[in-house]
């Protein structure tokens, strides 16, 4: 890791050690991205004894990067800053998936039930209409029956980012989902007990 650190410090991207003058709880090198494809940002590379990881890429100005901008900076950081020393040092670089879908955290039947609900529901009223409510219940029951790992945070994010639901209604649905899963689990336990 010491060799990697040395080579990153001497690498092609500007190192912003001025940003690391505050007491950091782990050793880190902040590296500046200043390309034209995304807003100026700082890539935070943290070091442990036998590994290093990019924990965050923070835009220099107030605001947020899009997922595409975040992934672009991460990929260029790997290609231009990490790959050359990693090759010479024999280090392995692992890149997380560019994106993950609901199918990574829920079986197909559960995703299909959710898509049926979201695709036909009135997005202004959530599960207010009886038919929407029935499709919502089908989804919750499917998630319970399959013991899906789908959490309320992923559900809310999917509803907002992929399906265009309003934040507040998506949040209410996420809470409803959490409550319903808890109730069904409790019901099962009470029957088993």
């Amino acid at each position: 890791m010491a060799s990697l650190r040395t080579q990153v410090l001497a690498g092609p991207w500007e190192v912003r050690m001025d940003l690391a003058t505050r007491t950091l709880r782990r050793e880190a090198i902040p590296v500046a991205y200043s390309g034209a494809s995304a807003p100026a940002s700082v890539v935070w590379l943290f070091f442990d004894a036998d590994s290093a990881e990019v924990t965050n890429i923070v835009p220099s100005e107030a605001g947020a990067l899009t997922h595409e901008e975040y992934n672009l900076i991460a990929q260029r950081f790997v290609d231009e800053v990490l790959q050359p020393p990693a090759r010479s040092l024999g280090l392995q670089i692992q890149i997380g998936p560019v994106s993950y879908t609901l199918r990574d955290v829920a079986p197909e039947a559960v995703v299909a039930a959710l898509e049926r609900f979201s695709g036909s529901a009135n997005k202004a009223t959530g599960a207010g209409h009886p038919l929407d409510a029935a499709r919502w219940d089908d989804f919750v029951i499917a998630a319970h029956a399959d013991k899906a790992e789908l959490g309320s945070d992923d559900l809310q994010r999917w509803l907002v980012e992929e399906q265009g639901w309003d934040d507040s209604i998506a949040h209410e649905l996420a809470i409803e989902y959490e409550r319903a899963r808890r109730l069904l689990k409790h019901y099962d336990a009470s029957r088993d007990g």
Binding site: L24, A28, N56, Q156, S168, H171, A174
Partner: protein, 234 residues
């Protein structure tokens, strides 16, 4: 730690985030129904009364950065509220002109005047809540912890986003509660934030990166004024 809190009895300590103060003004145009709006304002008033009692039934606390964010956001939210009432008035006038039943302009005027009178009480209510709150100043330890949280992308920080304000709120709450617990305070500590995107797991639990501290320090979470009132029993 502030004397107000260190000398507290077992009365709950309720830490209020910026969005929660702003929600007092947002209810007329954000609440999904009149009951939610009424319940929010009623709960906020109960908190004010409870915190202002000679022997406070609850201790309201907030962070220095929250007060600044409140000031920064107040003009926008106040304008939204005024614009909302203007829009309602225009809509009523348009509907009245569509017939067949003419709505008496005097009735429209009276209803809108009443709405404006009610709305005019909301900012003072929020300001009284802030005035009744003990404001915790930032310090190097809070700033350092918030910075670490942001650059490591730990919630409420988000990857690819500047989140130092939210991280400062979280670290102020954590540091305050650590000191309270160290000083033997065994009462309830509650965070009230409607910023569910950043502070919760999408449901009613804290963000996964906050759950460890919240569990260890026994910090509760509420996302609305009524939820908070129910949680602390006022």
């Amino acid at each position: 730690m502030p004397a107000l809190v260190s000398s507290a009895t077992m009365s709950p300590v309720v830490f209020i985030d910026t969005c929660t103060f702003l929600d007092v003004l947002r209810q007329p145009f954000r609440a999904k129904d009149p009951q939610t709006a009424k319940s929010t304002i009623d709960s906020a008033k109960r908190f004010l009364a409870a915190a202002s009692a000679v022997a406070p039934l609850v201790h309201l606390v907030t962070a220095e950065i929250v007060v600044k964010e409140w000031s920064d956001n107040l003009p926008t939210v106040a304008t939204e509220l005024t614009r909302h009432i203007d829009n309602v008035e225009s809509s009523l006038e348009r509907l009245s002109s569509c017939g067949p039943l003419l709505i008496d302009p005097a009735h429209i005027f009276a209803a809108i005047k009443g709405a404006r009178t009610n709305a005019d009480t909301l900012q003072p209510l929020a300001e009284q809540l802030i005035a009744a709150s003990h404001v915790i100043s930032s310090n190097p330890a809070i700033r350092e912890a918030a910075y670490n949280r942001e650059v490591q992308g730990l919630g409420p920080a988000k990857k690819g986003k500047q989140c130092i304000k939210d991280c400062t709120v979280a670290e102020t709450l954590i540091q305050m509660t650590e000191e309270l617990r160290t000083n033997g305070f065994g009462g309830a500590v509650l965070l009230v934030t409607s910023n569910t995107q950043d502070f919760t797991d999408g449901g009613l639990r804290p963000h996964v990166d906050l759950q460890g501290d919240f569990t260890k320090l026994r910090i509760g979470l509420a996302t609305t004024w009524p939820h908070a009132a129910h949680s602390v029993g006022i």
